[in-house]
């Protein structure tokens, strides 16, 4: 199994801040695995994901993708990283430009990264992959429901056939029934496209349903790391225990247990 991301002793301190927002943090992401970065607000999970994507420079430390440092990349190498790693954000109301049509939103990464690809057919293909009618290409984001928008955001991310999808709270802004649909879609697509998934989330339910391995972050540090099932069944760090105990849980549900797992 090959290692995609290697994060080595990465720290981040924002301008004017007295303390580090992150780190030092080290982790690796293996190809084909689904990794969850679990944390509450202020835990540094979003900062870490932005640094991994090369969208934010670290104060110290190195992030490598397939052995190449992701920061200070130029030209073809930078484009290559962008193609291989794509991002989906939490709020589909904010992440789609209100002035672009869905077709152009989905096509944007293709136009930048894959010049010469027949964009129109690929967009239709991508919309179909996220279970949307091709006619959606002509609509504006405000004409779509929250779930439909998040499907558009996912279609857009899949366009360049990435190896890794980084999803930052991909369902937190959605209604419960829509959450379940988007989760199912993500799981299906991840399998179908052999995607490596990095899920950034505070929601243990989502993590439990989507990810093999998890890291738990608290105050900028990784406090626990392991296989998701084991980590949830037998948390070691006091913070992880508190987090698990805090989640309002549903009583056992005999009918559905089988369906989930």
């Amino acid at each position: 199994m090959s290692t995609l991301f290697t994060v080595d002793a990465v720290r981040k301190r924002y301008r004017g801040a007295a303390e580090d927002a992150l780190g030092p943090v080290s982790l690796s992401v293996e190809a084909g695995r689904h990794l969850a970065i679990i944390g509450e607000s202020g835990s540094g999970k979003t900062t870490l994901s932005r640094i991994m994507l090369g969208l934010l420079p670290p104060t110290a430390g190195v992030v490598q993708y397939r052995g190449t440092p992701v920061h200070d990349l130029r030209g073809q190498a930078a484009r290559d990283l962008r193609r291989r790693v794509q991002l989906v954000l939490q709020d589909p109301f904010a992440s789609l430009s209100p002035r672009m049509r869905v077709g152009d939103i989905v096509a944007e990464p293709l136009r930048i990264l894959h010049r010469g690809v027949p964009v129109r057919t690929r967009v239709a293909e991508l919309l179909a992959a996220v279970e949307l009618d091709p006619s959606f290409a002509r609509r504006f984001p405000h004409e779509l429901s929250g779930g439909q928008r998040q499907r558009v955001a996912i279609a857009r991310a899949l366009g360049p056939r990435p190896e890794v999808l980084v999803a930052d709270e991909p369902v937190s802004a959605l209604d419960v029934s829509v959450q379940a649909q988007i989760l199912r879609l993500l799981r299906r697509l991840a399998e179908h496209e052999a995607l490596t998934l990095v899920l950034v989330s505070h929601d243990l339910g989502i993590v439990q349903n989507l990810c093999h391995t998890s890291v738990v972050m608290h105050r900028g540090r990784i406090v626990e790391f392991g296989a998701t099932t084991e980590l949830l069944a037998d948390p070691q760090h006091p913070y992880t225990r508190e987090l698990l105990a805090s989640v309002p849980a549903l009583p056992q549900h005999h009918e559905t247990i089988g369906k989930i797992l």
Binding site: R83, L87, S95, S97, P98, E108, I112, L113, H142
Partner: protein, 275 residues
């Protein structure tokens, strides 16, 4: 355009501006009298069939003067706004794109420039380069350019720090592409609305400067100067001041309402349907 006419303020704005544009265009081809012909014998005539709005102290036809004045007003408003946009928009982009230190310095510079009264700037320019409609318009444009920069820069920042701009970066878009495809379209309505407001402001400023004698020089008719020339009559025949004053109100109100209408229709979220 049809959407603009469906919008109430847009419709009124378009109509008012159209009246002014029509007056300016008509005056290029035809006026009832030559507004420059002086006939002291016919001074201060009351409105009649031949002189719709009467004549001024020198016997020039007031209606013709107002028609020609529309040219001056529109021309100088457009020039001032063009200057404001040509300087202000790049300045806003520079403020937004440069490193924090330089950006902060530029912002303070803009703040200082905003505090500097446009009127005084105009007076300085006019006294150094001579009184002309165009000098006054450039002065007004210079004054407005910093206002454009000040109001557009935060809009650019908002669009640039948005999630969709972040996603574009993550998709490998260059900062130029992000500016062109994401930031400008999303900041666009603010820019357009701001510029129409500056059209209104410039028209008013031209009238003000001409009224004070720093704008359009004699004998070219200008609404502001017409108003000034009619002033001696304010105690005896106040109604003669009404026509030039009303013209100024129409053009300022017209551009402002047009801006409101544009703001409403330029946002796809408030547009009713898509083709």
């Amino acid at each position: 355009m049809i959407a603009l006419l469906r919008n109430p303020s847009g419709l009124v704005g378009v109509l008012l501006v159209a009246v002014v544009v029509a007056a300016a265009l008509t005056s290029l081809l035809w006026t009832p009298h030559d507004p420059l012909i002086v006939d002291p014998a016919a001074g201060w005539l009351a409105p009649s069939a031949s002189h719709l709005l009467g004549t001024d102290a020198l016997g020039r036809d007031s209606f013709s003067a107002l028609l020609v004045g529309a040219q001056v007003t529109l021309g100088s408003a457009l020039l001032a706004t063009a200057v404001a946009a040509a300087l202000g928009l790049p300045l806003a982009a520079i403020i937004e794109l440069t490193p924090p230190m330089l950006s902060a310095f530029l912002q303070r510079f803009v703040d200082i420039m905003i505090a500097f009264p446009t009127l005084i700037l105009a007076v300085i320019l006019v006294t150094s380069f001579g009184s002309s409609t165009w000098t006054a318009a450039v002065a007004v444009g210079l004054g407005a350019s910093v206002v454009v920069a000040r109001t557009v820069a935060p809009e650019l920042r908002r669009a640039r720090s948005s999630d969709y701009a972040l996603l574009a970066t993550a998709a490998g878009a260059s900062s130029g592409r992000i500016m062109l495809h994401h930031v400008l379209p999303n900041a666009g309505s603010t820019i357009v609305v701001r510029l129409t407001q500056i059209l209104a402001g410039s028209a008013l400023a031209e009238a003000g400067l001409s009224y004070l004698g720093f704008g359009t020089p004699t004998p070219t008719p200008s609404w502001g100067r017409t108003l000034a020339e009619m002033q001696p009559q304010i105690m005896t025949r106040p109604e003669v001041l009404l026509a030039p004053a009303l013209c100024i109100v129409i053009v300022v109100l017209g551009f402002n309402l047009l801006g409101d209408g544009l703001r409403d229709i330029l946002d796809p979220r408030t547009r009713r349907s898509t083709p």
